[in-house]
């Protein structure tokens, strides 16, 4: 951005083991979204090393970044970001399309993941015909479909009421139980406490990094 560049992150040093469920917390402007964007290869760090599953993520051009995103990462967004003219199953199958899987295989896999989030009966519905919680579950199924190494969730419950939020977190916990690594950006304490580790960010640096006792979301559902 040239002259008006701003150093949002000022030295972040942390690592995530496989199978962890990490919450990244902080007030707005603390740099948590920027961190997530760098982890998600949607943005690049000015300096430093980022290693994902022994692969160094450096000098990415757009094409390379797209490949890595497809292979390594699954995104869950606050506003779901489903493609509105595609049905649930087609949305879930989309990352597989970019992996070059056959149509048959894509549909079978997509249905399987929809089943896992409990939405198989809604497979042919358009996003506009689904509730907010259902949309986020479709988005989670889509993030899972490509079998990524890390799931990145940016305020996954930000647009949901507390009951639906708990349902979604319950689902995220279950996926984590199966051994998937998940990073959740949130500013809600109770959501953060449903993870296993909380990283507090303030003004671009980590102020606290602690393991916690997980609060199971299922008890609120």
């Amino acid at each position: 951005m040239g002259s008006n560049s701003l150093h949002v992150l000022k030295g972040i040093n942390f690592s995530v083991e496989q199978g962890e469920l990490v919450a990244i917390m902080g007030s707005s402007g603390s740099g948590k979204s920027t961190l997530l964007n760098i982890l998600g290869m949607l943005d690049e760090a000015d300096s430093g090393i980022y290693t994902l599953d022994t692969v160094p993520i450096i000098d990415l051009n757009e094409t390379k970044a797209a490949e890595y995103r497809n292979k390594f990462l699954g995104f869950i967004f606050q506003s779901f970001n489903l493609i509105n003219y595609k049905s649930a199953v087609e949305n879930v199958a989309l990352p597989l399309y970019y992996q070059g899987k056959s149509r048959k295989e894509r549909n079978a896999t997509a249905l399987e993941y929809l089943d896992r989030v409990g939405l198989k009966p809604w497979a042919d519905h358009l996003p506009s015909e689904l509730s907010g919680g259902q949309k986020q579950r479709v988005a989670i199924a889509r993030a899972m479909a490509a079998d990524p190494k890390v799931l990145l969730a940016d305020e996954p419950t930000g647009a949901l009421d507390s009951k639906t939020s708990c349902e979604v977190m319950d689902l995220i916990q279950k996926i984590n139980d199966e051994g998937n690594t998940i990073l959740v950006v949130t500013h809600e304490e109770d959501i953060a406490h449903m993870c296993k580790r909380i990283v507090y960010l303030k003004d671009g640096v980590i102020v606290e990094d602690k393991k916690i006792d997980q609060v199971r979301a299922s008890q609120y559902v």
Binding site: G40, E62, R69, F75, L82, Y98, A146
Partner: protein, 409 residues
């Protein structure tokens, strides 16, 4: 890139975004449709023009006698000038090099009868060469020849409508009609593109007319065709020299403008050609203008369509679509729509033009048509520019960071 799966994805997207597809397709189809119709109409206008002025031979001079307006060499003014056979001969001898043909014309109107039918018809007493000056087309029999002139034969060549009126279904060739007080043998039937009036004429040898009128040698008009290779300047010079010759011979003052008139088709032809040229420019201007308007329309809708999909592009990129895939999918989709709708628009235009054939002659549009190569070319230009117009924003959209694109509402 062109796998079956890609196409399935593309047609899926097209099918599921009906409004977008419709807008893009409609703009494209309308654009090319208007190009085809407008160009077709201007071509029709040019056809009408050519039909109006393309009938008679264009390398023709008409020489008419008039009345003098000033006294000269002892002659009073207001003297009537009369041509005769010697004038014909003089022109023929003096300008032989420049002339293709020369013919007199004496026009009369006479009652013509055959069996029970009778009617008044204009008859022209002419030489054989007259056939060239009016582009008379013989349908049956023959036109007059030199021998008919020499023997002062009572032969008549009748127009198609004369034959139809007088003879009905009967074959007129060899039959005798009564023209005025004399019997004439019909030796030919002709048609003429110049319209119905031209086909209600009767041609007879000019010597025969002179014989009937007390054996005089008077003629009314002289029509001559000059060699087209002398060009416009040559035709003007010829006109001047013939005027000079006849004025001297008939004792008409040089400055006298009303003794002899010459109507030079070459002069009119030049004006007509200029008009046709202007018409051609207008047609070209219309064609280019509508094509540009079409390009602008299609480009606009393309930019709008890509802009509208910015967020979708962000989602697809986050899911692992490379910029190349994103761009090619959007472009393939857009060009598929523009190709299909462009050619349907073109086809619709061409079909309507064909349908209008002969229906708009009252509005000076004869057989509107469009050169198929031109139509296809214009369609391709619109498709190509539409693709370019889609490519630029698509490329930009594909370069936007996914996180920015995702924020686009």
């Amino acid at each position: 890139m062109f796998s079956r799966d890609t196409w399935k994805e593309i047609f899926d997207t097209i099918r599921k975004n009906k409004l977008r597809t419709f807008l893009t397709g409609f703009t494209m189809a309308l654009g090319i449709f208007i190009v085809v119709i407008l160009v077709g109409f201007t071509n029709g206008l040019q056809n009408t023009f050519e039909k109006f002025f393309g009938d008679d031979a264009t390398n023709t001079l008409f020489v008419f006698p008039g009345r003098t307006s000033m006294p000269y060499k002892g002659y009073t003014s207001n003297r009537r000038i009369q041509f005769d056979n010697s004038d014909l001969k003089d022109i023929e001898e003096n300008f032989a090099m420049f002339l293709d043909y020369i013919t007199p014309r004496i026009t009369r109107s006479s009652l013509v009868r055959y069996k029970g039918e009778s009617n008044n018809y204009t008859n022209r007493a002419v030489a054989p060469a007259h056939q060239f000056s009016e582009k008379t087309i013989i349908m049956k029999g023959r036109f007059l020849n030199e021998n008919d002139i020499n023997i002062r034969a009572k032969y008549a060549v009748v127009g198609r409508l004369v034959a139809k009126d007088l003879f009905k279904e009967e074959d007129p060739i060899g039959k005798y009609i009564t023209l005025g007080d004399s019997a004439f043998k019909v030796i030919g039937v002709f048609q003429d593109d110049g319209g119905d009036n031209e086909e209600r004429l009767i041609y007879i040898p000019y010597t025969t007319r002179q014989l009937i009128e007390k054996g005089n040698d008077k003629i009314e008009q002289i029509i001559l065709g000059f060699n087209p290779s002398i060009g416009y300047a040559g035709a003007m010079a010829l006109e001047k020299n013939i005027t000079k010759l006849l004025k001297e011979k008939k004792f008409i003052a040089r400055e006298d403008r009303s003794g002899i008139f010459i109507r030079n088709i070459a002069d009119e032809l030049k004006q007509n050609q200029q008009f046709a040229q202007v018409l051609g420019f207008i047609a070209l201007f219309f064609a280019i203008g509508t094509i540009i308007a079409g390009i602008i329309g299609v480009s606009n809708i393309m930019i709008f369509v890509v802009k509208e999909r910015t967020k979708e592009i962000g989602i697809r990129k986050a899911l692992g679509a490379t910029p190349r895939v994103v761009i090619s999918t959007i472009l393939l989709e857009a060009t598929t729509i523009t190709i299909l709708s462009g050619f349907s628009g073109m086809l619709a235009g061409v079909l309507i033009l064909q349908n209008l054939e002969g229906k708009l002659e009252d509005y000076f549009i004869t057989n509107p048509y469009i050169d198929l190569g031109f139509a296809v070319g214009a369609t391709l230009i619109l498709i190509i520019f539409g693709s370019i117009a889609g490519y630029v924003p698509a490329k930009r959209a594909a370069r936007i960071k996914p996180i920015v694109a995702l924020r686009d509402e």
